[in-house]
Structures are given as structure tokens and as C-alpha cells.
Amino acid sequence: MSYVDAGYAVALTTLLVYAVSLILRRRRWERALRVSEAPATGGHDAPARGERS
């Protein structure tokens, strides 16, 4: 692989991986926000602390 190919490969791969990681982080935080809002709305199916045996 030439230096040119390596440069393009590194740049494009890094940007792609970072973009995908950002999308996954956004999805994770959106899910976390839904979970944090759920007890207030009464729509969450996770047990409350006292319910866990």
C-alpha cells in the first residue's frame, strides 16, 4: 500500500468510525432519556428498587 492510499484509508476510516460512534452514542442517550422519563409517565416496565428480590 502506498503512502497516498494509506492516507486516504486512514482519513476516511477514522471519520466513518467516529461518525458511527456518534450515532450510537446519540441512540444510547436517547434510550437513557426515555428510561429516565418513564417512571414519571408510568410507562416503564422496569421494576422499582423495592421490587427486586
Binding site: 486516504y8 476516511l12 477514522t14 471519520l15 436517547e30 426515555r34 422519563e37
Partner: protein, 265 residues
Amino acid sequence: MSTPVLRPSRPRWLDAVGALGVVALGLTVWLGLWVTPPDAVQGNLARLLYIHPPIATVALYWVGIVAAGGSLLYLWPRTRSLFWDRLAASAVEVGAVFAALTLVTGSLWGRPAWGTWWTWDARLTSTALLLLLEIGYLALRRVPADPAVRARRCAVAALLIAVDIPLVHFSVDWWNTLHQGGTFIDPGFKIHASASMSWTFLLAFVAFSLIFVWLLGVRYQVEVLQDAVGDQELEVSLAERWSEDTELVGADLVGQAPAPGGGAP
């Protein structure tokens, strides 16, 4: 009736910018690797210059403007808003990625052109310092603190990063460096390249700028979501874990249930 959940807006224009950026980047790669002619002096090695200076431009100028501008607007009492703090933080993280890419692509060009991967040249060293400062900023941001205190600390740190940017820019003029000064466009804005090379170079600047805007927008959304969850992060993690445990226990119980007709001996 459920309460609406606060979420950052996901504007359609941001998706359009991202799509345009991907198309422009694809065109840049096609033109840069296959269409433009080899350089008269550097040969095919000059093809790296279609990506290295545009990436460096984003890492230095676009990131510098957003991070320093956002931090100044946060520190200024009349414009103080966490919007500016979040925007600056997002710019610094995206900037760290671009600064690292600037160093790597520059190094890949420098090895065959200069005969070395790295030298303690003023331009290279000040760019490495920029990356270190940005990593320091991101570390500082993870220190637990009240949002206002954290925002103030980070704004000051971002201004320190901004001080390094003119240092990087003028390093080739202020010191005798191995890194060349402006060679593509001279101070009189006369372009020293063929038309296809010039257009590819220009397109690369547009492509990486669009990609930067898209990354900045998505990173900003992550920042807003993080702040929205805020102190409840531990509670949320526990709730998620409990939810998983409940599902696992349920699955185990189903697995242990006796089979119809007597079960296992």
C-alpha cells in the same frame, strides 16, 4: 396521558448537510486518486495534499472559530447560555479527531517527502500541542461539577486552545521550519496549480467543511441528551440493568419449567 420527553431537535437540514458532505467527499476521493494528473515535482504523492490541508483547515480554523467563539459568548454575561458551552465542547471533540488526522496524514506525506515521519518542527509541534490541549479540555469536561462551573472552566480552557491556533498558523513565518509556507495560493491569491487540481482542492475544502458541520451537529445533540439525563445517569444505568436482569431471570424460569408430561427424570 404521557408527558412529552425533552429531546434535542434533529433538523432535516443537518441530514442534508451530511448527505452533501458524503457526496462531496466521494467526489474528492475519485478526483484526487484517479482523475487529477500527477504533480510535476511530487508525482502521485501530491494526491495526499487534496486531503491534508483541508483536514488541517477544519482542525484549526473552523474548530477554532466555533470553540473560541462559543466560549467567549458563554463567558460574556449578556450572551451566557449553555448552548454556547455545548457547542464549544462539541467543536473541541470533533476538532481532536481532525487534529489527529492532520498529524497522521501530514506524517504519511512527510515520510517520503522529507525522509522522516516526525520532526520537532514548529508547525508540527504546535499542531501536536493543539491535540494535547483538546484532549486536556475533554478530560476537564469529565470532571464532575455543577454545569455552570464546568462550563466556565471549559470556556477558559477553550480560550487556551484558541491561543495555540495563531501559533500554528504563523509558525512557518515566525520560525525557520521544515514545513513549507503557503505554496498552493500565494499572498497575491494567484493559484499555482492546474484547473483540475484546483477544483479538486476546492471541493475537498467544501467536503471536509460539510462533514465537520454534520459531525458538530450530531455531537451537539449528544451533548444535549447527556445534559438532559444529567444526574440521573446512575439511576438510568441501574434501571436498564434491572430490566436486563428481569428478562434473564424470566428466561431462566422458562428454561427450568418442567416439560409437559412429567419432565426430565
